[in-house]
């Protein structure tokens, strides 16, 4: 199970819950799993959040792999100047 941690941006969907585990092998599967557990969160995450998978940031990358014990932080998408 991948360990998912979300910040305050996602709390309106999770009721304030920050950490949970999902069965998923890719970013896309994480998004789908989140949407099943917290309706609407998947779409929100897909549009607004980046995935830090085991310390490496993946942005707009549905097929990035997620390991069975990966640490996944959802952080706002990052731009720059």
């Amino acid at each position: 199970m991948a360990h998912i941690t979300v910040g305050s941006e996602c709390w309106p969907f999770t009721g304030g819950q920050s950490a949970f585990e999902v069965e998923a092998a890719s970013v896309r599967e994480v998004i789908a799993a989140l949407d099943v557990r917290f309706p609407g969160l998947g779409d929100f995450v897909d549009r607004k959040m980046a995935f830090a998978i085991d310390g490496e940031i993946h942005q707009d990358a549905w097929f990035s792999p997620v390991g069975s014990s990966s640490e996944v932080y959802l952080i706002p998408k990052i731009g720059g100047g």
Binding site: S8, G55, Q59, E71, Y73, I75, G80, G81
Partner: protein, 762 residues
Amino acid sequence: MSETLDKPAAQATLNVVGTRPIRPDGADKVTGRATYGADYNMPGQLVGRILRSPHAHARIVSIDASRARALPGVKAVVTSADFPDLASEMHDGGEAASNLRDLSLNVMARGKVLYDGHAVAAVAAVSAAVAEEALSRIKVIYETLPHVIDVEPAMSPDAPVLHDYMFTEGLETPPTVASNIAKRHKNVRGDVDAAFAAADVIVEDRYTTQAVHQGYIEPQACVAAWAEDGRCEVWSSSQGQFMVRTYCAKILGLEISDIRVTPAEIGGGFGGKTTVYLEPIALALSRASGHPVKMVMTREDVFRATGPTSGAVMHVKLGALSDGTITAATVELKFQAGAFPGSPVGAACMTALACYDIANFTIVGWDVVTNTPKTAAYRAPGAPIAAFAVESAVDDLARKLGMDPIALREKNAVRDGTKASYGPTFQNIGYVETLAAIRDSDHYKSPLKPNQGRGVAVGFWFNIGGESTAAIHISEDGSAAVVTGNPDIGGSRASMAMMAAETLGVPVERVRPMIGDTASIGYSMLTGGSRTTFATGMAVVQAAEKVILDLRQRAAKLWEVSLDHVVWRMGQAECIDPAKPEKKPMTLAALAAQSGRTGGPISAQVTLNAQGAGPGFGVHLCDLEVDPETGHTSIVRYTAAQDVGRAIHPSYVEGQIQGGVAQGVGWALNEAYIFDRDGRMENAGFLDYRMPVASDLPMLDTIMIEVPNPRHPFGAKGVGEVPIVPPLAAVANAMRGAIGVRMSSLPLSPPAVLAALDGKGG
């Protein structure tokens, strides 16, 4: 995808990367041959001009352009009525999603003007003089409204509300009343109250910064042509031709396929050219007039109507044990967003404590709309502002603890394996090495003179990857053209040519880097976020590897050996089949000369969405001297160390670091938007908005630390944004050392320094 593409181009010895060849754009730029946005012209083109609001906040009662339209030589007048009234919709187009309604309303006001300089109408005429006369003939009746400029008054419950449909996001209880607070960000770890209660030493202060502009030399400029068949062309200076195409299509209700955008040479962007201002208007004027329309901003336009970055009010409190372990932190950041939501406060919250391993903290950020120009990205958006506050507080903490400021930072530094304050676990970072480089520098050990002070500050930026396309075309003489979709704002053409040359094994002079228009190269996310050398460079290397695979396959056929018996070394194919020792190596030029007979032109394109950009850290050391009689400050010595992954072209990397320092020093010492009581900008020009010039600065020394990013073929990390993060605080901390007073409001201008000295004396 072949095996060759699946693994990084492992290079035992580098021949091109890390060297300092002459920049490919240098001669054109120093001779005036380079073609910037304002250098484009078309037959029959008209001159476009914009009528801008003189009010900070007002309702548009009516616009009467009849007298302007009647003026001979005026070919078109447009207002918001000539643009679709877009619904609120987030759309990817730049680096992050933008609200198309806000984007459109910022390009041309509809119903209300929200800041001094907001566009309300535009004309196209046969000359600049006629266009200016036409603007004076447009009668706009305004109903002025109360306005609010500064962030804290804008947060007040009795503040004039800019958008009656805006309700604060991010609160536990959704508000029922509209306000200027667009969003609250919050990041919490541990038990901060308990940690402060147990702390041996606590420091806290309130910090303020003013809105500052990116200050690019070249104002926005474009030419737009709307053809009779509905197809459009745009030539403009921006950080992304695809961004311009997408936003123009959305704002005007066009198909993307109807717009072709050609990027001009760009005279600086720094994040400020990651959105559109002129292009949709020029297109609308061209559609209405039937002529190409050229528009060039004045410097006043640039200041009044294009994005600065936020002014801010911040509060920082730090708690530490007597051994220097920082155990608790609270950070509150209030950022001006300008007329529409979207200040960089979210990134500021994520970067504020990113250099520190702290067990307990609360970070809160507020995104607040104000009657000022909509903020735009500016190098490491938000991070320098937050770093000014946090690094000032860390400096005060070091003084209170009696610790060396670098030793305090080393004690609390993040390392590989540390969980970053914004969540993920750091890997392959070079922060402690960068701290050590400054600690061990001659500069840090050198003595100071009277009235001088020394400041240390650190900074962090994420860096990003993203979507990029690169193509490599081999000519019949073996030379190569490298085409990418990213405007070159910081030397990326040189980097692209060098990485292609390194991979192909040819001299860099044999590689010509080009930037394609939207119809000639695949989509590329704009140039920004320190992503181009990392992400587009990755595409270039992979395209070169595809070319090499093609060349090996052709050589194998010519030699009648298996592909496994052909290797590519130093720009030529070599046969390693022991049964055919007579086969002599074939150079790229030799293979290219036979390309027609061996399968046709040699060319490859790669598209990718690069992930795994490595974050960057910088440590800056500033010495300054204060004239106690005038309050004037001189930067007398400055050294900046940065983890750059791998410097592809070291001179460019040094230039990026020096440029960031120069901009940061200006931000610290002099720059500020100044508004009068009616909310009008009073210093919309470089005479009154004081940026540093070369004579204001000493030689800025740089130290490049190379901790490679394993996700890039050569180890590159983004380098363009980190160097603007520490200077604000480095200067402020040096000022604290020089005058013995903590100045917590920027800019540290001579009057402010004198006031601080007077306060100290009193």
